[in-house]
């Protein structure tokens, strides 16, 4: 009941006219940028973060939520019409969605994705509203060792467990952790890895790293591979609306998608890839006509899209209640909080209830606005897809550079952006995941602080991490998550030899 009351207060905040306006701007900006090919939600949020620098925290966080949800919506549009998913979580959507668009059913594909995202987003946001206070009550009793162990677990799951290669994932994480050391240490005031460069004293901006790795890295990669060869968006022909048959085939996948997406997103397991993939395989197994899969089955769009959105709301649970980002987007959102000196966590719920609950309530509003605004406006977004790629990438680079120098007008900052761009290009070229680096940069210093606080309490004895049941369990799970992929691979090989 507490949740409902708090949520009610949140709606009062969110329904203030200026906040409604911020939500609307966020939704439109998020969709417009997210719909551009190759730009996923993480990059959308990172590119638009500078726009919110000078606004008040409440309004800009609400705008942020709109950007986040809008970016996800735009991403699925690109996946369906252009077959260029902007992020790994839309890859599965592109499988069936693009096939539907090719056979002239682009309208229903977009509609089931949009309505499914709405349904999933709404249910999952309710889940967030009810789960968050429970977790907050639990988290109040967390010691620094528990936080440290949680962060270690997040490091492992984000980088090693679910990627294509634990070695490459961990290397990406190591990049983030190393960059996280740079700057003045928060606890002792000592400069670390700054080499006397004053611009490095404040540490490395998460947005600079994210925009460099994602935007500049992507642009360099696309240029290097001539991937800008003409891939024309498929025009949306025929009716936008879903037939009765489409509805009948969509609603169960939506709900099952929420079932996969929300819990997995809410666990510090990171990423929406797993739930979208699980949803896809489940729908294929349950479908009456499994042979339709691969040629445009609507269930294969409805389920994964719902799972994707539900897990996005799910990642907000650890982000808001524990301050623990488990995806690149969440990491950038956390940077957004920090630019206003806000630290998400149990304290934020007691200190700034209006802000937190206003944000949660505005998620509902953003979600509703998206479906009202975007289904009729789909024609406009499709036109954005037709921007010639040379201009598109040139524009992205100009905007990325501008956002960076707007936050810190120095050549050093720009040089860092370009340096990260080159690293991002090489990482993409040699198939390294980027999210672990971003998560490592923001979580690394936090884990560092929590570890040292724990050690201070135990007078330097690291066994404190294993003596507390909470942290011991979490670290055990982390160790398990690290070796699991190796063991599974070994098992597979063993079975293969048996055959």
């Amino acid at each position: 009941m507490d949740s409902l009351l708090a949520l009610g207060h949140g709606f009062v905040v969110a329904f203030e006219p200026t906040n409604l306006l911020f939500a609307a701007i966020g939704v439109v900006l998020g969709t417009a940028v997210g719909v551009l090919p190759g730009i996923g939600p993480a990059l959308t949020v990172a590119l638009l973060l500078p726009v919110t620098f000078k606004l008040d925290p409440g309004g800009s966080l609400i705008m942020f939520a709109g950007i986040y949800y809008g970016g996800m919506y735009g991403g699925s549009t690109t996946a369906i019409l252009l077959n260029t998913p902007g992020e790994s979580a839309s890859v599965v959507t592109a499988l069936e969605g693009n096939q539907m668009a090719r056979s002239g059913r682009g309208g229903p594909a977009l509609a089931t994705a949009a309505i499914g995202s709405f349904v999933a987003g709404t249910i999952a946001t309710f889940g967030l509203a009810f789960l968050a206070p429970v977790l907050v009550r639990l988290a109040v009793n967390f010691g620094p060792w528990d936080y440290f162990a949680l962060m270690v677990l997040a490091f492992v799951t984000v980088s090693a467990t679910f990627g294509s290669s634990p070695l490459r994932g961990l290397t990406s994480l190591a990049l983030g952790l190393t960059l996280g050391i740079v700057g003045i240490d928060q606890l002792t005031g000592r400069a670390r890895l700054t080499f006397g460069v004053p611009q490095l004293f404040d540490g490395i901006e998460v947005t600079t790293l994210a925009v460099g790795l994602f935007a500049i890295g992507e642009a360099l990669y696309v240029a290097s591979r001539h991937l800008y060869a003409p891939e024309k968006p498929i025009p949306v022909k025929g009716s936008l609306w879903m037939t009765r048959e489409d509805w009948r085939r969509s609603w169960k996948p939506w709900l099952r998608g929420v079932g996969f997406g929300f819990p997995i997103g809410a666990l510090p397991a990171g990423g929406a890839e797993i739930p979208t993939f699980l949803s896809y395989t489940t729908e294929r197994r349950l479908a009456k006509n499994p042979e339709e899969f691969g040629r445009g089955a609507i269930e294969g769009v409805a389920g994964p899209e719902a799972a994707n959105n539900a897990s996005a709301a799910g990642t907000l649970v650890p982000l808001l209640t524990l301050g623990l980002p488990t995806s690149a987007t969440a990491a950038i959102m956390l940077a957004g909080f920090q630019q206003y000196g806000l630290q998400p966590g149990p304290l934020l719920f007691t200190k700034e209830p209006a802000l937190v609950w206003g944000l949660i309530a505005s998620l509902f509003i953003a979600n509703t606005m998206l479906i009202i605004l975007n289904l009729p406006l789909i024609g406009i977004w499709v036109r954005l897809l037709a921007i010639p790629l040379p201009w598109l990438y040139a524009g992205i680079l100009v905007f990325a550079a501008m956002g960076t120098i707007a936050s810190d007008p120095s050549v050093v900052e720009l040089a860092m952006l370009v340096g990260f761009g080159i690293i991002g290009f090489l990482m993409r070229r040699y198939d390294h995941p980027i999210a672990p680096a971003v998560v490592g940069l923001i979580l690394g210093p936090m884990a560092d602080n929590q570890l040292r606080r724990s050690l201070q309490m135990s007078l330097g004895d690291p066994m404190i991490l294993l003596q507390n049941p909470g942290s011991a369990t979490l670290l055990a799970i982390a160790a398990l998550a690290l070796v699991a992929p190796v063991l599974l691979k070994g098992l597979e090989r063993f079975q293969a030899q048996e055959d």
């Binding site: 290097s224 680079l397 501008m402 040699y430």
Partner: protein, 164 residues
Amino acid sequence: MKQGTLRAPDRVPVVVGIILLAAAAIVAMDANHIQSGFTYGISPAAVPFVVAGFLALLGASHLVVAFRRRDPADDSDAWNPGPADWKAVSLVLAGLGCLMAAIAVGVGFISGSALLFALTARAFGRRAFVVDLAIGAALAFLVFLLFNNLLSLTLPEGPIERLF
């Protein structure tokens, strides 16, 4: 299990491994430097030492991967991604360099961004350099107005920007 018979190593993991080992050395040296002036409580060098160890471990693993015989089931194609158009890459980098130079010299960022826009568009196959230059300048100008007047964010100014 296939044991590692030696063969010509993959070049990329060797390079990555060496970079990681070098990074480990730098982090460790810096941590050592911090450690030397620190006498009480938990040292700020503790975690850098751990990270240095992690980097060294990863570097060593890369070298092992590079020299071990490749398992055909492994997706080692990641190390051999095929040819790249280095001319296009350097054009984009040149554009970013132009922007950096423009800001360093104080020409302002509209001209720098216009060059970045035109050079990137060229890297992506456009051939109308002057047209792109104009589009880039217009775009940069719009963003300048938006940032400067609407969002009160200051962008590096030059003679053109000061007119507004």
